[in-house]
Amino acid sequence: MENKPKLKIGWFSFTCCEDSTILLTEMLNENLDAWKKVIDFRHFKALKTNNSITDLDVAFVEGAISSASQAEELVKIRNNSKYLVAIGACACTGQPSASRNALVPEEIDFKIAFYLCHFDYSKDVKKIDQFVKVDDMVIGCPMNKKTFLEVMDKYLKLFKIIF
């Protein structure tokens, strides 16, 4: 059993409320025992300290991109993954995390300006396909559970982990 190939996945979160991460932790109630047999969770910050992003089969990415450093990190993840799946509304559409894009200049007062200038915020919050190729999307706020299971199943079959 130990030597059987597993799907090497990473789970990543950018700017969002991490609701899809929470939903996934709920899905583990029913699925963890089965998934451990076929999935190698290489990067899952909510669950483990020793994480790796190298040589991933599939990267699942939730959240929108708020800064150049996040964009750089996203590109790094893409370069280390054969496939990349956008998870949830913020990753797929930018919203609601991108709601600050609608603030007009007179609303960006010194309070907001302090943070925008003090940390490396981009002018606009963007969805992830504005930076990298996205192979699949699991829409929803949080992600649609059924679609996620279908996408997971698709990649488990694509990599011949299950048949």
Binding site: I22, E26, L32, T49, N50, S66, R100, L103, F110, K111
Partner: protein, 433 residues
């Protein structure tokens, strides 16, 4: 360790992104920074100009795991701004949905994030497939506990995350009463599992003692997360609407969230399960008090690791509270209160799973939001976390870097911090000062 720079880029097994930087020179901690790294979404700014009806569901997006807490705090703030008094049935249904949240949310923290610390492993993913293994048993207990908590919240509120049914003035749809007997049966079934968890987390050997003030909401009649007055260790009682006046926000230039000082005390203060059990263990459910008696004797406690034990006890409290309500609630069909929007200011203070949560809504005469403010537990605990870590490092500089990092992460995890929450609002006072 004479001189060193210790960096933890990403603290793991918490909600959101945080880091830690410690500078040690000549056996002294000269600098320590707990860095909240999630980017702000400025929701309390972008909510301005929206009609009040749209606000609670929008602000539930502040946080995935405690979205119901933000939803309910926002609903309460807006109801008070509009002079709406929810029915006693609405209050009980909210309590039920909330009991489910606390059961699920505490179980996630305790079993998925803290349990590896208890077992001395990196992750629940490393727990062996051995039914006799203690970790295996506790992990599988957690699957059942979380599922039942989620089932309860879903039955009442429609979903565990961004729940669609609670609204200003009541619920959009009544729960199906025929689901209650099964919910009671499920809650009874997880009771012994939670008791096993209480025992396990009571045996966590770690200790980190510092003398903080404790602060939480307290209801005069019964243990309650949603209604009461804010109290602290010295017995000060503050009405919800005055809470804000007793806090002083502090700019932490390297963190994307502000810290807070409670004006009543010289030192820092803590919010969360440890505060609630320290201050209100006398009004827990009678069944909880009986079955958790020996563990409740460990409180009041100044050991931050007892926040884990307090959360485990609160899971039992929520199970017993929910069973009582489900057994006695004579459900009648009710529609949400009808109201004509008006200008007003309202404050909603509740106990989120991680501690005291404050929402303030101000509307104009058309019910459009003109000002909104949120103060979350993790921002309030930020200064306390740093002070705990400073003490820990100063007392343990003889240990190797790996041990220091591991123990620092354990202390931070015991707080159950949530960075998603901590970075999605703007505080105003510090700018004024």
């Amino acid at each position: 360790m004479h001189t060193a720079d210790i960096n933890i880029e990403n603290i793991t097994k918490i909600e959101g992104t945080a880091g830690l930087q410690v500078k040690i020179e000549n056996d002294k901690v000269v600098d320590l920074k707990f860095l909240i790294k999630d980017y702000r979404r400025f929701y309390t700014e972008t909510v301005k100009g929206k009609p009040l009806i749209a606000v609670p569901t929008f602000l539930s997006r502040i946080c995935g795991t405690c979205s119901i807490a933000h939803l309910f705090a926002s609903i309460e703030a807006i109801e008070k701004s509009q002079g709406i008094i929810p029915s006693s049935q609405t209050k009980l249904l909210r309590r039920l949905a909330y009991d489910g949240l606390v059961i699920r949310d505490h179980a996630l923290h305790l079993y998925f994030f803290v349990l590896p610390d208890l077992l001395g492993i990196d992750s629940i993913l490393d727990i062996p497939e051995d039914h006799d293994d203690k970790g295996h048993q506790l992990l599988h207990d957690s699957f059942d506990i979380k599922t039942v908590g989620s089932n309860l919240t879903t039955a009442i509120a429609g979903a565990i995350i961004h729940a669609p049914l609670p609204t200003i003035g009541g619920f959009l749809k009544m729960p199906d009463k025929s689901s209650f007997p099964k919910l009671i049966e499920e809650l009874e079934r997880i009771r012994p599992l939670i008791l096993r968890g209480i025992d396990a987390f009571a045996k966590m050997p770690d200790t980190m003692i510092r003398n903080s003030d404790y602060l939480s909401l307290r209801n005069r009649d019964h243990f309650d997360f949603l209604e009461g007055e804010v109290v602290n260790s010295s017995g000060k009682v503050i009405p919800e609407e005055k809470f804000h006046e007793f806090l002083r926000s502090v700019v932490i230039p390297y963190s994307q969230a502000e810290g807070y000082v409670f004006s009543d005390t010289k030192d820092d203060y803590f919010v969360g399960a440890l505060s609630r059990i320290n201050l209100s263990k006398d009004i827990l459910n009678e069944k909880t008090k009986t079955d958790a008696k020996e563990y409740l004797e460990m409180f009041p406690s100044d050991n931050i690791y007892h926040n884990n034990l307090a959360q485990a006890i609160e899971m039992l409290q929520c199970v017993d509270d929910a069973i009582e309500i489900l057994m006695t609630l004579d459900l009648v069909e009710e529609k949400p209160a009808i109201f004509v929007p008006r200008a007003g200011v309202g404050v909603g203070v509740i106990e989120a799973p991680r501690g005291t949560l404050y929402h303030m809504a101000e509307t104009d005469e058309k019910g459009i939001i003109v000002d909104y403010d949120v103060i979350v537990p993790t921002a309030q605990n930020q200064i306390n976390i740093e002070n705990d870590l400073k003490k820990y490092f100063e007392e343990n500089l003889d240990k190797d870097e790996q041990t220091l990092k591991l123990e620092a992460e354990k202390i931070i995890r015991a707080y159950d911090p949530c960075m998603s929450c901590a970075t999605n609002f703007l505080k105003i006072e510090w700018i004024r000062s």
